[in-house]
Each structure stands twice: as structure tokens, then as C-alpha cells.
């Protein structure tokens, strides 16, 4: 336990925050290890930004314990700011400075900045170093955001919804830059509402819904996804009925679904029955729940409506 605590970049216990009477965070516990890319996933209004802004020192918490790089953001904001880099959701910067000037200006705010050229190389903006900010594309501006966040050579990087509103190629650009950060050994806390983004980038992730962490794990095994039931789907010709012991349910017309936790056995039963009865199983397929399905299920369970009517 003791050694685990030492290597935690972020450690949060029982964090609560209210806006007026409405609770935004209802007791969040979370630990982010040094050097990992951690994704905080959740729908809009789940409390992602509130959570991150408390860690960054922009907001004060109502209750709970927060340690970021061993510091309390409420009590040591300046010391903390020298060691973190922040990419905010909306990205304002001076449009009339050029790329290199912008990074150099932000570098001047830090005690131990990383050399500007090195940063531009890292985010792939070396070619654009003399371009004015106002002439950059959306993806390039986002990469400049990351460059600014790297200016002070931080140990921990916050990325708040880094690709929201981007087209696929700009998203890919930004993803490549974030992947690159791993090689620097930086800890990254990323918030997103895109499942594929978390899956592609994160070592570990947590799902937040309605102010609570509802699941935590690595993308492949989140919420016991690999142990969850698979669904066998198929369509039968007119008039045919599936064998009773499979307990198949009609979806629509003659399309059926079997919810199965013994896929090999059930498939064998189904196909032997079909071969024996000379029936063609159209559209036969086996679906496992995607991370997206798990996510939707997790976030709908804690629907605020349910909370209040309980």
C-alpha cells in the first residue's frame, strides 16, 4: 500500500463538489499511476470537467482528499502549476503570434522549461514554427495546445476532451501526438466522451456518470467485458422454428437471438440442428458487447432520473 501511494501521480478519495444545490461529484475515488495514460470517460454533464478542474486547481472541492503529484491543489497551487501542463477544452491563444513565439512565451513562465525546438519536434510543428496561429488548422492548433502544455516540461499532463468537434484526420493527428507522450514517460489524464479514443490511447480508464465512478479498469477487461454473455444471431427460413432447448428469442419476423455464456456449445447445438434439418442459417453471427455497449449500459444505469425516483 505504502509503495503504491508513492507511485501515484493522482490520488483522490471521497471527492465531492456541488454547484448550488445540484451535486456535480458525489464521492469520487481514483488513483492514477505515474507514467500511465489514463482516460476518464463519461457523457456530457457527468462531472469530467469539474473533476479535472479541481485537480488542476481551477476549482475548489467541497469535500474529500486530493493529491496531485503529492500536492494539494487548494494549498500549493503555484508549486503544482510548475509541474503540470493543461490543455483546456476551448483553446484560446494569441492569434497574432507565431507558433515558436507562442511556445517561447509560455516557456518563459516556467522555472525549468523544455527547449522550444524540442517541443515543436514532439508535436510535429517544426515545419510550422514561423506560421501565425490564426493560419493554423484545427488539428495544428490542438497540437500547439499540447506544445504549450509541454512548455514547462511537466510531469503530469491534463487533456480535456482533446478531439471534440474534430474531423477524423484531425483526430488522428492529435492521437498520434498523445501516443508520442508515452515515450516521454509523462503521466496523462485524458477526458473524453469517445469510446474509441479511450480504447486507442489509454492504459487504464474509468467511466464517470452522474458524478460517480461507475467502472474502472483497462480497456480490454473493463466491467468484466470478456466474461460477459455473447449474443448469437441468425435468421431462419419461412416456417422454421429453432430447437426449444436453445431458448432463442424472436427479434423481428424470423430473426432470432440467443444470449449465451457457452458460445462453443450453443453454436455446435445450433449448427448440428440446422445441418440435420437441412436449414440454412442466414446471417449467422456471434456478437460480444463492445466497449461502447458496456459504456452505454454503465452510464444509463446511473441515469439521474433513476436516482431521483428511487
Amino acid at each position: 500500500m505504502e509503495s503504491e501511494r508513492k507511485s501515484a501521480a493522482v490520488s483522490v478519495q471521497g471527492l465531492t463538489k456541488h454547484y448550488g444545490k445540484s451535486p456535480a461529484l458525489r464521492g469520487v475515488d481514483l488513483e492514477i499511476r505515474e507514467g500511465e495514460i489514463f482516460a476518464l470517460l463519461g457523457p456530457n454533464g457527468a462531472g469530467k470537467t469539474t473533476f479535472v478542474e479541481i485537480l488542476e486547481g481551477f476549482r475548489h472541492r467541497d469535500g474529500g482528499e486530493v493529491r496531485v503529484l503529492g500536492m494539494d491543489p487548494n494549498h500549493q497551487p503555484m508549486a503544482l502549476k510548475t509541474r503540470i501542463g493543461i490543455v483546456l477544452q476551448s483553446s484560446g491563444m494569441d492569434r497574432y503570434l507565431n507558433v515558436a513565439e507562442t511556445v517561447a512565451m509560455y516557456s518563459s513562465y516556467y522555472p525549468q522549461p523544455r527547449p522550444v525546438d524540442e517541443i515543436l519536434e514532439l508535436v510535429g510543428l517544426t515545419q510550422k514554427r514561423d506560421e501565425r496561429v490564426l493560419r493554423l488548422s484545427g488539428g495544428q492548433q490542438r497540437r500547439l495546445d499540447v506544445a504549450i502544455a509541454l512548455a514547462g516540461n511537466p510531469d503530469l499532463l491534463f487533456l480535456d476532451e482533446p478531439t471534440t468537434g474534430f474531423d477524423p484526420s484531425a483526430r488522428r493527428e492529435v492521437w498520434d501526438v498523445i501516443k508520442n507522450l508515452r515515450s516521454l514517460g509523462k503521466t496523462v489524464l485524458l477526458t473524453t466522451h469517445f469510446m474509441d479514443e479511450a480504447q486507442y490511447l489509454a492504459d487504464r480508464l474509468a467511466v464517470i456518470a452522474n458524478g460517480r465512478i461507475v467502472a474502472e479498469g483497462d480497456p480490454a477487461t473493463l466491467a468484466g467485458r470478456d466474461r460477459m454473455r455473447a449474443t448469437i444471431r441468425f435468421t431462419l427460413p419461412e416456417g422454421a422454428r429453432p430447437p426449444a432447448h436453445l431458448s432463442a428469442e424472436v427479434v423481428v419476423g424470423s430473426s432470432y437471438e440467443v444470449s449465451s455464456d457457452r458460445v462453443t456449445q450453443d453454436l455446435h447445438d445450433l449448427t448440428s440442428w440446422a445441418l440435420g434439418s437441412a436449414i440454412d442459417l442466414e446471417d449467422l453471427r456471434v456478437d460480444r458487447p463492445s466497449l461502447e455497449d458496456v459504456y452505454l449500459e454503465l452510464t444509463s444505469e446511473t441515469d439521474p432520473y433513476h436516482e431521483e425516483t428511487r
Binding site: 488542476e56 486547481g57 481551477f58 503555484m78 502549476k81 510548475t82 503540470i84 493543461i86 483546456l88 476551448s90 483553446s91 484560446g92 491563444m93 494569441d94 492569434r95 497574432y96 503570434l97 513565439e101 512565451m105 509560455y106 518563459s108 513562465y109 516556467y110 522555472p111 501565425r132 504549450i148 512548455a151 514547462g152
Partner: protein, 257 residues
């Protein structure tokens, strides 16, 4: 980096961005000079008494002083308020807040830059007045008094610019709020049209309460040789202190929602 180095770097980048922004450079520099040319061309042959017991001067000289005052106000109050509102809305201020630069240094950087721009504008206005209208330029003690008023006025109108951003809802509304608050005062304070001694008393009272008239009188003293009153400096300074207190209490780094 120590505070002084951080401050000078900050001023350097504010300055770069300022000159590259065509709108801010144009409105700050072209407007006062354009008005100076227009007013002096329209009314240049008249003479005027600035105050009841003051000297009679050419109206062109009057406008050199008045437009210098106007230039300083637009370089400080207008630029700071509109610039900050835009930066606040676009998230520049919030981003800055997430870095270790002390707020005081960031704000002082803008103040110092506004002061430089104000000095350049006054020099240009004075040189123009000297060249084309033989306007008198202050020397010796009047020059020192003039510089005190310029420094106090710059700081006070910067502070007022910070203060007004607390009631500006968003960047789109910034020019409207700024102009609505300053334009009537510029007229009521005799910047564009000299205040006649028979002006209605309510108007003179407004001019007496707000800082624009007092600042303009201080500038007049340098250019036209009217008496310099330290009460003018004190009233402008008091507005500056009040504005600073309001900013300190209510200034926000995040966009208003």
C-alpha cells in the same frame, strides 16, 4: 526566470501581438490623429479660453492637448477592456491562469505596454501639433507635471479598463459597453467640443465627477499653459484606486456564462 525578466518578456510578447493586430493598431493610432486633423481643419482659425482666467489660445493647440488625452484614454481604457474581454472569452486568460506566471506580472505587463503606447501617441500628437500648428510644447516644471498626470492617468484608465470588464458579458458586447461608457463622457468633458463657460450646470457637474475632464485639464496644462491643479491628479488617481479595488474583487479569468 526572475520576476523582472518574466515581466519584460511578457511586455515583449504583448507588444508583438499588438502591432500585428491591424484593428488595435489602427483604432489606437489612426483615430486620434484623424480626429485631430478633422477638428483642426474645421475650426483651426478660432481662438478659445480654456478656463475663465486662463490664456486665450488657438483652437488647434486646444485640440492637440484634447486629442492627446483622447489617444491616451483609447490606448488604455478601450484597448485593455476590449482586449481582456476577448482574451477572457477565448480562454487565453484561463490558460494563463493554469501556468505559474503570477497574475500581478501578467497584468503589470499589459499596463506597462499600454503606458508605452500612450507615450508614443502623445509624442506623435505633440510633434504633429508642433509641426503644423506651432503648438507650444511643455518644458521644465510643466513638463514634469505633465508627465505625472500622464503616468497617473495611464494607470487609472488601465484600472478602469480592468474594472469595466467585470460588467462586460462577452467579447461581442465589449466594444458596445466600452463605447457606451466612454463616448458620452468624452463629449461631456470637452474632449471633442470645448466646454463653454455657459454650459448647463448639470453637464459641468458630470464633468467634475468623472475622471476624463480632470485628466484632460492636466494635459492642457502641459500644452496650453493653463494652471496645473494637483486636485485633478488626485481625482484621477482616486478613480484609479477605486477601479483597482473593483477589479481586485470582481475580475474573472474565466469566460462568463
Amino acid at each position: 526566470m526572475n520576476s523582472a525578466a518574466m515581466l519584460s518578456t511578457q511586455v515583449k510578447y504583448v507588444n508583438k501581438a499588438f502591432w500585428r493586430n491591424p484593428a488595435s493598431a489602427f483604432f489606437t493610432f489612426a483615430f486620434p490623429l484623424m480626429f485631430l486633423v478633422i477638428f483642426t481643419s474645421l475650426l483651426g482659425n478660432h481662438t478659445i479660453k480654456v478656463s475663465a482666467n486662463g490664456p486665450t489660445i488657438a483652437i488647434s493647440t486646444y485640440y492637440v492637448a484634447a486629442m492627446a488625452a483622447y489617444a491616451v484614454i483609447s490606448a488604455t481604457y478601450n484597448n485593455i477592456a476590449i482586449g481582456l474581454a476577448i482574451q477572457r472569452d477565448s480562454g487565453v486568460l484561463k490558460r494563463t491562469r493554469g501556468t505559474p506566471i503570477p497574475s500581478g506580472i501578467y497584468i503589470l505587463g499589459r499596463l506597462i505596454h499600454a503606458f508605452f503606447v500612450a507615450v508614443i501617441l502623445v509624442v506623435i500628437t505633440a510633434a504633429y501639433g508642433r509641426l503644423f500648428y506651432h503648438a507650444a510644447l511643455p518644458t521644465g516644471r510643466p513638463l514634469a507635471e505633465f508627465l505625472v498626470m500622464l503616468l497617473v492617468g495611464t494607470m487609472a484608465f488601465c484600472a478602469l479598463g480592468f474594472a469595466i470588464t467585470t460588467v462586460i458579458p462577452n467579447a461581442d458586447a465589449a466594444p458596445a459597453v466600452v463605447n457606451a461608457s466612454i463616448l458620452p463622457l468624452l463629449f461631456l468633458s470637452g474632449i471633442f467640443i470645448p466646454l463653454a463657460s455657459n454650459a448647463p450646470s448639470w453637464l459641468l457637474w458630470i464633468a467634475r465627477i468623472f475622471p476624463v475632464r480632470h485628466f484632460a485639464l492636466g494635459m492642457d496644462a502641459g500644452f496650453v499653459g493653463s494652471p496645473f491643479n494637483w486636485t485633478d491628479v488626485l481625482i484621477v488617481a482616486a478613480w484609479g484606486v477605486g477601479a483597482f479595488a473593483v477589479s481586485y474583487r470582481f475580475f474573472t479569468w474565466e469566460p462568463k456564462r
